[in-house]
């Protein structure tokens, strides 16, 4: 359905050359860029500094004019005023008015969209809630930290409930909470059908939220495609389980040798991500009501931003901000392939999964009851892997029994 709709953004042979005072070409910032951004996708624009990301965005917004090539946004020229009514833009720096307070800032930008006073007021309140700055709404933005200003920048980009959101380095200058929250907002808006163009050189951000990406270097497009396809590691299989005994690991290793003639490459206890750890500490502080003049935990994504979906806004925020649902300790077994096959052996996976649905082991009550998540490689938006200890135990028990029987026969 997405593919059948015309692209929101289309560029053909787009070039931008910056010239000096004497009109001599100095820098070719963008060269022959062909870009299609489809409705409803989160599109990542990647590249190192000076690769032409921001120049491309400025041309999409009509702030720069192309030297050559064509751009259409919603089928029209980017300078068309009607196009801008459908766009939200967060620039690489916040560029806000230092003398205005946050609520006045949002009100001003709301006026430019001709929003009625009641709607402006309502959206201002909700967006300030969302970015966690309602308690600072009457402070001049000149007094804000960079991260707080960034949050207001995001809020102003959403004041018109845009169909197409352009975010240039949205997480720069933000603390981990803010960065996580902005990523959550992007994910939520993406789920709700918004088209989003995300430019960043923070690769983890892009990986977390984007459906498709393009990579620019030297003003030229070097790669483009679905992020799940681009990042798929086809020669590695990753199995994540709750903690295993040394003996169990040895047996798994033996099993793999026997069935696949492959060895385990690494066995380790992965560390929890610093981001998760940090967020947990801050959440504890917030729970203890420790005072802060900075940004607080944001609220729900306002409903005006899109049609309501099954998941409630509360749910979104909880999922995005809270780290409570993640496994507390995980031991990962990384199985390296001894040959470069495209897919891991289905036999091994089938064996590992054949006891799917078995009851949990009473000795491991903390383990979740769901089936283990075994992925050939992290693809697309990675989810927190969860494993069922009982499945592994059953599997190994069967294996031990079989070995014992074999020994008995011999």
């Amino acid at each position: 359905m997405i593919a059948s709709n015309p692209p929101i953004v289309q560029t053909v042979g787009l070039c931008k050359t910056f010239k000096d005072f004497w009109r001599r070409a100095k820098v070719e910032a963008v060269r022959d860029l062909n870009l299609d951004i489809r409705p409803g996708e989160v599109f990542g624009l990647l590249g190192p500094n000076g690769s032409g990301k921001t120049t491309t965005i400025k041309m999409l917004l009509g702030l720069l004019y192309p030297t050559r090539g064509r751009i259409s946004v919603f089928g029209k020229a980017p300078t068309d005023v009607s196009v801008k009514a459908r766009i939200g833009f967060l620039p690489e720096e916040s560029y806000l008015y230092r003398f205005l307070v946050a609520s006045e800032t949002l009100d001003y930008f709301g006026r430019l969209f001709r929003l009625p006073a009641r709607v402006r007021h309502d959206r201002t309140e909700r967006l300030l809630d969302m970015v966690g700055l309602r308690h600072e709404a009457k402070r001049p933005i000149g007094e804000y930290s960079k991260g707080m200003a960034r949050r207001i920048g995001l809020a102003q980009a959403l004041i018109n409930d845009p169909e197409f959101l352009i975010l240039d380095e949205p997480t720069s200058g933000l603390d981990p909470i803010g960065a996580r929250q902005i990523k959550d907002v992007i994910r939520t808006l993406g789920r709700k059908g918004k088209t989003i163009l995300l430019s960043s050189h923070v690769l983890a951000d892009v990986e977390d939220v984007c459906d498709r990406v393009t990579i620019l270097y030297g003003g030229q497009q070097r790669a483009v495609g679905d992020i799940s396809e681009l990042l798929r590691e086809r020669d590695v299989t990753l199995i994540t389980t709750p903690p295993l005994e040394e003996e169990t690991i040895l047996q798994v290793r033996e099993l793999l040798r026997r069935l696949e003639r492959k060895d385990i490459v690494t066995v380790s206890n992965p560390r929890v991500k610093l981001e998760d750890f940090f967020l947990r500490i801050v959440e504890e502080a917030q729970a203890a009501n420790i005072r802060t003049s900075g940004a607080r935990r944001g609220g729900m994504v306002p409903e005006f931003l899109s049609q309501p979906t099954k998941s409630s806004a509360e749910e979104i925020v909880e999922t995005l901000v809270s780290a409570a649902q993640r496994p507390k300790t995980v031991e990962a077994v990384r199985i390296g392939a001894t040959s470069r096959e495209d897919e891991p052996s289905r036999e091994v996976i089938d064996q590992l999964l054949k006891r799917e649905g078995a009851e949990s082991d009473d000795d491991q009550p903390q383990a979740p009851a769901s089936a283990p998540t075994i992925a050939p490689a992290p693809a697309g938006r990675p989810k927190a892997p969860q494993a069922d200890r009982s499945v592994i135990d059953d599997l190994l028990r069967e294996d031990r029994n079989r070995d014992a029987a074999r020994e008995g026969r011999s």
């Binding site: 910056f18 010239k19 000096d20 005072f21 100095k26 820098v27 400025k58 917004l61 009509g62 702030l63 720069l64 004019y65 005023v81 009607s82 801008k84 009514a85 766009i87 833009f89 620039p91 720096e93 560029y95 806000l96 008015y97 003398f99 205005l100 006045e104 001003y108 930008f109 006026r111 430019l112 969209f113 001709r114 102003q156 018109n160």
Partner: protein, 468 residues
């Protein structure tokens, strides 16, 4: 319009929050409120009020001009600080942004001008009440009748000097006076004779009289109404006491009006007003005035002086057509029209240049507009010989400059043409026609040209342009 208004409101808010308004009000407060205590004038009540108003409005015009240029910084700041990225990615057309900025600056100016005008008005009334009078009766009446009014002025109807010159020329030709004159130019001779007749008419010898006639005096002709004769005379052979004594006769009994005689004792080289009952004006709205160079005060010393009424100080008849308040209001509108134009110029400059350059360029336009008449006169005077432009580098340079100024004249208005401060100070009517001219020429045509250029340049500009 809502987007234009949104940008305008924002500009006003910026002007207020960034303390520009506060600084202006403090400065204008210092100037306007401090002036009455520092200006002495000619120590009369009229002089004090006139000096205060003249200095007060001049200072206001200068300060408001500078504030207008400074307020245009709003636009260049938004470009250099890149807030323009956020504004122009909203559904705001570039013309709406430019007009919004101009409107914001103009409305701020309007509020400043209203505050200043009201302050000056209040201070005039304060001076009127508190200034120590020299002659309580005369001072109060002079202020009320000659300054705090709106009077229409009519200049005397001059004789047809050209016709007189032509007649004399014909007589001289018939008499053969020019027969031996080589390369005789009749037109030049006629011009010379015309000037001679005028000079002769402007001089009144001892015991001689001069007739002044005024037309179109549309005044209530009741004896309770007054008309004012305003004149300034120079005296050949300066009297020792600097006073010349003379008689004035007003009215024409052949037209059925009463005749009034006024004996005067006036200072040389100063303007004087003589009040006359309005029934001296005839039914055909004309007034006949005779000046007699004769001392009406026999007891006082007799000097046989020649009196001269110079062309630059033409004798005028004035009559009240409106109130001081109305005059003040119309003056403020004319000042506002200039500020409208200046704001448009400042916006135009900031669409092309960074603020320091734009401010310099705007200030130059402001000065050129203020001194345009003077500059054009100077250039016309200096380069009299246009016929041979290539005869010398000097001629070429002067004529080139004149051509450039001539071209600039199409865009840059002559502010002096709309300077009504002198009229207000002298109690002359700032006419509605004049105000309408100011509104149409400055407020509409020239301002629209400047704003149109600004919009055109702004549309062509790449707002995120990287300068190298």
């Amino acid at each position: 319009m809502s987007r234009v208004w949104a940008v305008a409101r924002h500009t006003i808010s910026e002007g207020v929050r960034m303390k520009i308004a506060l600084v202006f009000l403090v400065l204008i407060g210092l100037v306007v409120l401090g002036l009455p205590f520092s200006i002495e004038g000619d120590s009369s009540l009229t002089g004090a009020v006139q000096s205060f108003m003249a200095y007060g409005f001049s200072a206001t015009a200068l300060l408001l001009g500078m504030v207008t240029i400074f307020l245009s910084r709003s636009l260049s700041d938004e470009v250099s600080n890149r807030q323009i990225f956020l504004v122009m990615t909203k559904p705001v057309a570039r013309w709406q942004y430019i007009v919004g900025k101009w409107l914001g600056i103009t409305l701020l100016n309007a509020s400043f001008l209203i505050c200043t005008t009201l302050t000056i008005y209040g201070m005039v009334r304060y001076i009127q009440r508190t200034h120590p009078p020299i002659d309580p009766t005369y001072d109060a009446a002079a202020l009320k009748n000659e300054v705090l009014v709106a009077r229409h002025a009519i200049e005397t109807k001059l004789p047809n000097f050209a016709r007189e010159a032509e007649a004399e020329l014909e007589r001289n030709v018939e008499d053969g006076l020019y027969d031996n004159v080589p390369n005789f130019d009749p037109e030049a001779e006629k011009d010379r004779l015309s000037k001679k007749h005028e000079a002769k008419w402007r001089i009144v010898g001892p015991q001689e009289a001069r007739l002044f006639e005024f037309e179109n005096i549309l005044v209530d002709r009741s004896p309770k109404s007054l008309v004012y004769l305003r004149y300034k005379a120079e005296v050949t052979g300066y009297p020792p006491d600097e006073i010349y004594r003379s008689r004035w006769l007003f009215g024409n009994r052949f037209k059925g009006t009463p005749e009034y005689e006024v004996g005067t004792r006036h200072m040389v080289g100063r303007y004087h007003n003589i009040l006359i009952p309005a029934d001296a004006v005839a039914e055909d709205h004309t007034l006949t005035v005779r000046f007699i160079n004769q001392n009406p005060h026999p007891a006082e010393p007799q000097f046989r002086n020649v009196i001269e009424f110079r062309k630059a100080d033409e004798v005028e008849l004035l009559f009240i057509v409106g109130s001081f308040e109305g005059n003040l209001f119309r003056l403020a509108i004319l000042m506002f029209c200039k500020l409208m134009f200046l704001a448009a110029v400042a916006i135009l400059m900031t669409t092309c240049f960074s603020f320091p350059v734009a401010a310099l360029a705007s200030f130059t336009v402001y000065v050129l507009a203020g001194a345009r008449g003077f500059i054009m006169d100077s250039i016309d005077f200096s380069s009299a010989d246009y016929a041979n432009m290539l005869s010398s580098p000097k001629e070429f340079a002067l004529n080139s400059i004149a051509a450039v100024y001539g071209a600039l004249g199409w865009v840059i208005p002559d502010f002096a043409r709309f300077d009504a401060v002198d009229d207000l100070v002298n109690g002359r009517n700032v006419s509605l026609v004049w105000v309408l001219q100011g509104i149409s020429e400055l407020g509409l045509i020239k301002t629209s040209i400047a704003l149109g250029l600004a919009v055109l340049l702004f549309y062509r500009r790449e707002l995120a342009e990287v300068s190298m």
